[in-house]
C-alpha cells in the first residue's frame, strides 16, 4: 500500500501546488539565511592576512566520525528497545517516566553531564554505595570515549525513544487487534507491526543524532579527557575566538557543513514512507514470557542509566540554595524572558515545520523531497560560534542595534535549532496521512485547508503537543547565538545558570538547573495531553 514510486504517489496524493510552493520558498529562505551568515563573515575577513590553520583536519574528521557513528548506532538501538518496552508496559507513573526520558535532550548538555557524574563519577552515588557495601570503587568510567558515548546515549537515546514511542502508540487499534487474533509471537509482532511503523523515523533520527554528536562541543571536552577526543567544532571555536582567523573559520565551517550535508542527503534519500499515523487508544495487548521480562529489564536499566542522573540534578538543586535564587528579582525576569522566548520560538517552529512537512508530504518526487528535507538540518550543521558571529555582523550590516535585535535573533535561531526535531516529530505522521488517506481526500475533493482542518490536524494533536514541548524546552534559552550582542539585561534561565557557574555560584546554578528540569518535565507531560484534548474537541 505504500506509494514508494513517484508514479503511484501521483495517483494517490492530493494535488497541492500551494503547499509545495510554500515549502520550496521556505527552504530557499533558510538556505539564503545560512549563506548570508557565512557571507557576512567572509566580507569582514577580507583584508586580514592569509591564515595558516594548524589543525589536522582529516584526523579530526576521522575521530569525530567514529564517535558520532557509535553514538548514533547505540542511541538508535537503545531508543528502540526503550520505546518497545514503554509501549508494552503499563505502570503507575509511566507518564512521568516518559516525560523524564524526553526531557534529557532539551536539558542543557552540561547539566546532564554533571548529573551523570554525580551517579557514575569517582565521587558519585554508585561509587559511594559500592565503597560502603563492598569496600572497593568501580573507578571512573565516566571519562574518555566511553564517557562521551554514555552521555550522548543518555541525551539522544532517550530522545529517539520518545519519538519512536509516539510512532508505536500511534499504531491503529484494528491492526493490533488483527495481530492479536493471529496469535503473533512477540518477535513477529515487532517485525510485522512495530518495525514498519518505526523505520520511517530511523533515518531522520539517525541524521539528527549523528549531527548532534558530530558537533557536540562542551560534553566532548568535559568528558573526553583532553584534546585527543575533540570535534571540528572546537577547532572552529579556536579559529574564531582565539586566532580571530575569520577566513579560516569559514573554511572549517564549510568543511563541517559539507560533511554534515552528506549525512543529511543520505538520510533524506534513505527515508522510507512511514505507514502509521494518528492516535490509538492505549493497547491492551501485553507480551508474555521472556519478552515481558526483557521489557522490564530494559526499562529498569534505562531508568537507572537515564533517570538517576536527572534525579540527582533535582536532588542537588531543590535543596537549601533554592531560596536564595527565587528571592532574586533577576530570577523572575529571567523566567519571564525564558517563557516568552520559549513560547514564541515554539510557535514559529510549529509554523516552519508545518510548512516544510506539509510540502514534503504533498510531493512524490524524490529529489524534491530531499531538497525540502535538508533545510531542517541546516542549523545543526553550522557551528554555533560561526552563527553567532555571522548574525552579529549581519545585524550590524542591516543597521540595527545589536541589543535591540537580540531577542528576535534568539527566537529565530532557537526555532531553526528546534526545526529538525520538529520535523522528526511531525514529518512521518503527516506523510503517512497523505499516503493512506490521499485517495479519500481526492475523492471528497477537499481543499488544502479543509484537508488540514478535518483530517490532518485532528490526527496530529498529540504529535503537535510533543513537538511544541520539544521546541519550547529547546528554546527556553540557548543564547550562544547572541554571545557578542552585549545584553546583560536580557537574560534567560539557562544563561543565568551559566553565569552563576562562572562566578563560583554553583549552588545557584544547581537550583536553576533543577527548576529548568521541573519545567521541562511539566511541559513534556502536559503539552501532549493538552493538545490531544484540543484536537479531539476539533474532531
Amino acid at each position: 500500500m505504500v506509494g514508494t514510486t513517484s508514479r503511484a504517489a501521483m495517483l494517490t496524493l492530493p494535488h497541492r501546488p500551494l503547499r509545495i510552493a510554500a515549502a520550496i520558498a521556505l527552504a530557499t529562505a533558510i538556505a539564503a539565511l545560512i549563506a548570508l551568515v557565512l557571507w557576512a563573515i567572509l566580507a569582514a575577513a577580507t583584508g586580514s592576512e592569509g591564515s595558516a590553520l594548524r589543525i589536522d583536519i582529516p584526523h579530526l574528521l576521522r575521530m569525530t566520525t567514529i564517535q558520532a557513528g557509535l553514538t548514533t548506532v547505540l542511541s538508535i538501538a537503545v531508543g528502540m528497545a526503550l520505546a518497545w518496552a514503554l509501549n508494552r508496559l503499563r505502570f503507575p507513573g509511566r507518564d512521568l517516566v516518559v516525560g523524564l526520558f524526553a526531557s534529557a535532550i532539551v536539558t542543557p548538555g552540561m547539566v546532564v553531564a554533571f548529573g551523570l557524574l554525580s551517579i557514575w563519577g569517582r565521587n558519585g552515588w554508585i561509587n559511594q554505595a559500592s565503597e560502603a557495601l563492598f569496600g572497593f570503587s568501580i573507578g571512573n568510567p565516566a571519562f574518555g570515549l566511553s564517557g562521551i558515548l554514555f552521555a550522548h546515549v543518555v541525551l539522544d537515546g532517550a530522545f529517539a525513544a520518545r519519538i519512536m514511542l509516539a510512532r508505536l502508540d500511534a499504531i491503529p487499534t484494528p491492526r493490533l487487534k488483527t495481530g492479536q487474533s493471529l496469535g503473533l509471537t512477540p518477535w513477529q509482532r515487532f517485525a510485522i507491526i512495530d518495525w514498519p511503523a518505526l523505520r520511517g523515523t530511523v533515518p531522520g533520527l539517525a541524521a539528527i543524532i549523528f549531527l548532534l554528536a558530530f558537533t557536540s562541543f562542551p560534553i566532548v571536552l568535559l568528558l573526553g579527557g583532553g584534546p585527543a577526543n575533540q570535534t571540528l567544532e572546537v577547532a572552529i571555536y579556536a579559529a574564531v575566538r582565539q586566532d580571530f582567523d575569520l577566513a579560516g573559520a569559514v573554511r572549517l565551517a564549510a568543511t563541517q557543513i559539507a560533511v554534515c550535508s552528506l549525512v543529511i542527503l543520505a538520510a533524506s534519500a534513505l527515508a522510507p514512507i512511514p505507514t502509521s499515523f494518528g492516535a490509538s487508544v492505549a493497547p491492551r495487548w501485553r507480551d508474555q514470557g521472556i519478552a515481558r521480562g526483557l521489557q522490564a529489564l530494559v526499562l529498569a536499566l534505562c531508568t537507572i542509566g537515564f533517570v538517576l542522573p536527572l534525579l540527582s540534578v533535582l536532588v542537588d538543586g531543590l535543596g537549601a540554595g533554592i531560596g536564595r535564587v527565587v528571592a532574586q528579582p533577576a530570577f523572575w525576569w529571567a523566567t519571564a524572558s525564558s517563557l516568552v522566548i520559549g513560547t514564541a520560538s515554539a510557535l514559529l517552529t510549529l509554523a516552519l515545520a508545518l510548512v516544510l512537512a506539509l510540502g514534503r508530504g504533498a510531493t512524490g518526487s524524490g529529489p524534491l523531497r530531499t531538497l525540502l528535507g535538508m533545510p531542517a538540518f541546516a542549523y545543526l550543521a553550522v557551528p554555533a560560534v560561526v552563527l553567532s558571529l555571522g548574525f552579529f555582523l549581519a545585524v550590524r550590516e542591516l543597521g540595527l542595534a545589536p541589543a535591540t535585535a537580540a531577542p528576535f535573533v534568539v527566537i529565530l535561531a532557537n526555532s531553526l535549532l528546534a526545526l529538525p526535531f520538529a520535523m522528526a516529530t511531525l514529518g512521518p505522521p503527516l506523510e503517512a496521512i497523505a499516503r493512506s488517506r490521499g485517495k479519500l481526500i481526492r475523492s471528497l475533493g477537499l481543499s488544502g485547508w479543509r484537508q488540514f482542518v478535518s483530517v490532518e490536524y485532528p490526527l496530529l494533536g498529540r504529535d503537535i503537543g510533543v513537538m511544541l514541548a520539544l521546541a519550547f524546552c529547546f528554546s527556553l534559552g540557548d543564547l550562544g547565538v547572541i554571545a557578542l550582542f552585549g545584553t546583560q539585561d536580557f537574560q534567560t534561565l539557562p544563561l543565568m545558570m551559566f553565569r552563576a557557574l562562572g562566578s563560583y555560584r554553583g549552588n545557584d546554578a544547581a537550583a536553576i538547573a533543577a527548576i529548568l528540569l521541573v519545567g521541562t518535565i511539566i511541559a513534556f507531560v502536559g503539552l501532549p495531553k493538552l493538545f490531544e484534548r484540543i484536537a479531539d474537541a476539533a474532531r
Binding site: L223, G224, A228, V234, R241, L484, T487, G502
Partner: protein, 334 residues
C-alpha cells in the same frame, strides 16, 4: 526687534531645556564580560560609585567573555559605540594593543601595589591573582609543592585544566609552565598527562568537577579560597603554592581611540584604580586589588597565602610564542 531675539532665544531654550539637559548627560559605554556586569559582580557597585561624582551615566554592555569584547570592537572598528573595555588580561593585552584601537591612558600609576611594577601606557590594571591549583584539605592532606612533585604522584591523583584556546586560565597555565620551564615545558606537559582527568572548555566546568570531588585539584586562582570563606564559611579549599613561582593574571581596562568621551573615560579608569573603586572588586570579582586597601580589604583576602615568587612574561614573548606553546601543550597531552 533687537530685544525680541534674546527673548525668543530664551523662550526656545526654555522649551527645549529639559531634553537638552538630558542629552548633556554623557553616557559612558563600557564593554565587559558578563560576570563582571552581573548583579553579583563589580559592575553595579562601580557604576553607582562613579555616577555619584561624574555627572554621567555608566552603561555596561556585556559580551560572553573578555576575549569576546575585544573581538567585538575589532569587528566594529572605528564605528564601535564602546568608550572603554574592562576585563582584558595580560595574556591578550599585547594582541589588543596591536590592533591600534586603544588610546594612551595618561595616568600616573606609580602608586599601585602589584607584584611587578606597572608601566603599560594603554592599559590600566584593576585586579590580579596568581594562577594556582586549588585542593580540598579534606581529601588532599599534603598537596604537591611543585609541578615535578605533582608529576611524581600516583596516576590516580587527578587534576582538571582548561583548554587554552577557549579559557583564559587554560592559556594562563600554558604560559605559566613556559615561564617556569622554558624549553622543558613539553616534558612537563607530558608528565602531567596521566594526571589530567580532562581539559574543559570553561573554567566553571573544571572548577565544578573539582568541587564535586571528581578531581583532586583544579587550575584556578590563589584567590579562589576567599569565595568559599566569605560566602560559604568554608575554609577547606586552599591554593597549592609551587616552588617554581606563579604567573599572575592581571585584568586591565583600556580607552578606545574612537571614543568621544576621552576625558570622562580617563576619569573612570582613574576611579577604577583608586581606593574607592578598588574596594568594590575583591568580594565581587574574587581577585586582589591593585592598591593597598589596608583595613578595607576583607580579612579573608589579607590572610590568603601568596606565592614568594611571581613569574613574568613580556607582551612580546607572549605574542611571539603563545601559539607554539599551545601547540606543544596540545601535542603533549593528546
Amino acid at each position: 526687534m533687537v530685544k525680541f531675539a534674546p527673548l525668543a532665544l530664551a523662550v526656545l531654550s526654555g522649551l527645549f531645556a529639559a531634553p537638552a539637559f538630558a542629552e548633556e548627560v554623557p553616557i559612558l559605554k563600557i564593554y565587559t564580560y558578563d560576570g563582571f556586569a552581573a548583579e553579583w559582580g563589580p559592575g553595579p557597585g562601580l557604576k553607582a560609585g562613579f555616577e555619584a561624582t561624574c555627572g554621567c551615566v555608566v552603561e555596561w554592555i556585556a559580551a560572553d567573555s573578555s576575549i569576546g569584547t575585544l573581538r567585538r570592537v575589532q569587528l566594529e572598528g572605528d564605528t564601535t559605540e564602546a568608550d572603554i573595555i574592562v576585563g582584558l588580561d595580560t595574556a591578550i593585552a599585547g594582541e589588543a594593543r596591536a590592533t591600534g584601537l586603544f588610546a594612551d591612558h595618561g595616568l600616573d600609576l606609580s602608586g599601585l601595589s602589584l607584584p611587578t611594577a606597572w608601566t603599560d601606557a594603554q592599559f590600566v590594571p584593576f585586579d590580579y591573582a596568581h594562577f594556582a591549583f586549588v585542593y580540598d584539605t579534606d581529601s588532599v592532606a599534603t598537596p604537591p609543592k611543585s609541578f615535578e612533585e605533582l608529576i611524581a604522584l600516583p596516576d590516580d591523583f587527578k587534576i582538571v585544566v582548561q583548554d587554552p584556546r577557549s579559557a583564559t586560565p587554560g592559556l594562563g597555565l600554558v604560559l605559566w609552565i613556559a615561564a617556569a620551564y622554558g624549553d622543558r615545558a613539553p616534558e612537563i606537559w607530558a608528565g602531567l598527562k596521566p594526571h589530567i582527568l580532562t581539559v574543559t572548555r570553561e573554567w566553571s566546568e573544571s572548577y565544578n568537577l573539582f568541587l564535586e570531588g571528581e578531581a583532586d585539584m583544579a587550575l584556578s586562582y590563589t584567590t579562589s579560597p576567599a569565595y568559599h570563606i566569605v560566602e560559604e564559611g568554608d575554609d577547606t579549599i586552599h591554593a597549592a603554592l609551587f616552588d617554581e613561582g606563579h604567573l599572575a593574571q592581571t585584568e586591565v581596562a583600556g580607552i578606545l581611540k574612537s571614543s568621544d568621551h576621552q576625558e570622562l573615560a580617563r576619569q573612570f579608569l582613574a576611579y577604577l584604580a583608586s581606593a574607592d573603586g578598588q574596594k568594590v572588586i575583591p568580594t565581587t570579582n574574587w581577585m586582589l586589588p591593585v592598591v593597598d586597601l589596608g583595613a578595607d580589604l576583607d580579612p579573608a583576602f589579607a590572610a590568603l597565602p601568596q606565592p614568594d615568587k611571581t613569574l613574568v612574561l613580556s607582551d612580546e614573548e607572549i605574542a611571539a610564542n603563545s601559539q607554539r606553546w599551545i601547540d606543544e601543550m596540545l601535542a603533549a597531552v593528546q
